[in-house]
Amino acid sequence: MSEKQENKRRYTTVSIPTTLFKKIERRIEGTGFTSVSSYVTYVLREILAEDENGKEPFSKEDEERVKERLRALGYLE
């Protein structure tokens, strides 16, 4: 697969208003961001990561069993 095809597979295009694009261009001047795309990707990842909410990965029974082990190992009094 050529590099162009590879990039096509890995990247896609979204549309944003030109005014916003220009505003971002001004915002990233002198920062480490090399393009509007890299800035938008960064911001979206930051926002989407907020959704990562997990349940407690253990039941009450699990918890009691683990606490017993932790006491036996000296981690809990």
Partner: protein, 378 residues
């Protein structure tokens, strides 16, 4: 409590005798202790969200983007290499049993067998193709194909330190019981000198708990031996750490020496253990001069979605003028007043059987190390 990476703590365990017997009837692949340990890490969720070895799409995405194919940060390939002879005996869809010394450690569902480019792997993960780099040298010894697929853990891998072996479910319950809402994780492959202690305690000042998590596993020549690291930390904990705010447990996996990428990997692992913060010092997981001293800190700016907060530290040293341990940010005095915690110097003294000065290493820690004839990997 902080969610595991990807939102769910993976648990792929089946410790039933029936399953173990089934494994004995399956095609078998022998594995070494490092591979067995990583199977334990997958099965118990240390490597959440991984449920097995990377399939091709994830593998390629990890190399190119430092992310899984679902865009979740992941920087180190967790893969199983197979030889041509082994490929001839398995097909996609098979189940194979992974054995360590005649014990079935796991069953692997073979989803995909694929070739890979070692040079591209080395460049992406280690930022070099030089075989002087220990991670690259290991990679070049691997077979030319990888097998991807989910695993089921049948037996925990053996450990030399059962007293300090905790899985993420256990550390999460431990932190909850201790009432720690914020926990800082510290990765280490060294016996602690005063500089390490200072970094750890500085970080602890701002959070509820400190989780020291030494890496136990294959290391390079000249690194501290595993049992020495444990003895040294036991001494430090006994004499200098409060029990209610600091704890010690091991992580069993090999060092990859992948510098920046490994720093992200180490942070993800500690997030799975329940840490909210992670200490990243100078040249984290580096080796030789392959990485810049703060490359492993800079890479975190590429991962705004990591969710564990990195705490960046510069080098600490003792300043005779300040009369305390300081760093360049807080000390106005010149280098003529400074005593650096030089790992090389400490190592040389220990090899000669000498206690390093108290300014550099706690005497109790030095004594714990000196009880070993050779504290270093040969």
């Amino acid at each position: 409590m902080i969610a595991p990476h990807g939102g769910r703590l993976v648990e792929r365990l089946d410790f039933s005798e029936r399953k173990r017997e089934e494994a004995r009837e399956m095609p078998r692949k022998e594995i070494n202790i490092d591979m067995a340990r990583d199977l334990g890490n997958i099965g118990h969720g240390v490597f959440s969200p991984l449920e097995g070895y990377l399939t091709r799409e994830d593998f390629e995405n990890v190399l190119e983007e430092g992310r899984l194919s679902n865009d979740l940060p992941w920087t180190i390939p967790v893969v199983l290499d197979v030889s041509r002879e082994e490929i001839d005996k398995i097909i996609e869809g098979d189940e194979i049993a992974l054995f360590y010394r005649d014990t079935p450690i796991a069953i692997l569902n073979v989803e995909e067998i694929y070739p890979y480019d070692k040079k591209k792997y080395a460049e992406s993960v280690f930022r070099t193709t030089s075989i002087e780099h220990p991670g690259v040298a290991n990679l070049m010894k691997k077979e030319d194909h990888l097998v991807g697929g989910k695993i089921t853990l049948l037996n925990d891998p053996p450990t030399m330190f059962p007293k300090y072996k905790l899985w993420p479910k256990e550390t999460r319950i431990l932190f909850k019981e201790k009432g720690w809402k914020t926990v800082v994780g510290f990765q280490t492959r060294n016996a602690p000198h005063v500089g390490h202690e200072y970094v750890q305690k500085t970080a602890l000042t701002f959070v509820d708990g400190l989780f020291i998590n030494p890496l136990i596993g294959k290391k390079k020549k000249g690194d501290f031996r595993d049992e020495v690291i444990i003895s040294a930390y036991e001494a430090l904990f006994r004499h200098y750490y409060p029990k209610n705010t600091a704890t010690l447990s091991i992580l069993e996996t090999e060092m990859r020496y992948a510098g920046p990428r490994e720093a992200i990997f180490h942070a993800i692992i500690r997030k799975n253990f329940g840490c909210t913060h992670f200490i990243v010092g100078r040249d984290h997981a580096g080796v030789g001069k392959f990485y810049g001293p703060y490359d492993a800190q800079e890479i975190f700016y590429e991962y705004p979605d990591l969710k564990i907060t990195p705490l960046f530290f510069r080098s600490f040293f003792y300043c005779r003028k300040c009369g305390s341990v300081v760093n360049e940010k807080i000390c106005p005095h010149g280098p003529e007043h400074h005593v650096n915690f030089s790992g090389t110097r400490i190592r040389e003294m220990l090899l000669r059987g000498e206690r390093p000065p108290e300014l550099m290493m706690r005497p109790e820690v030095a004594d714990a190390i000196l009880q070993y004839d050779n504290p270093f990997v040969e």
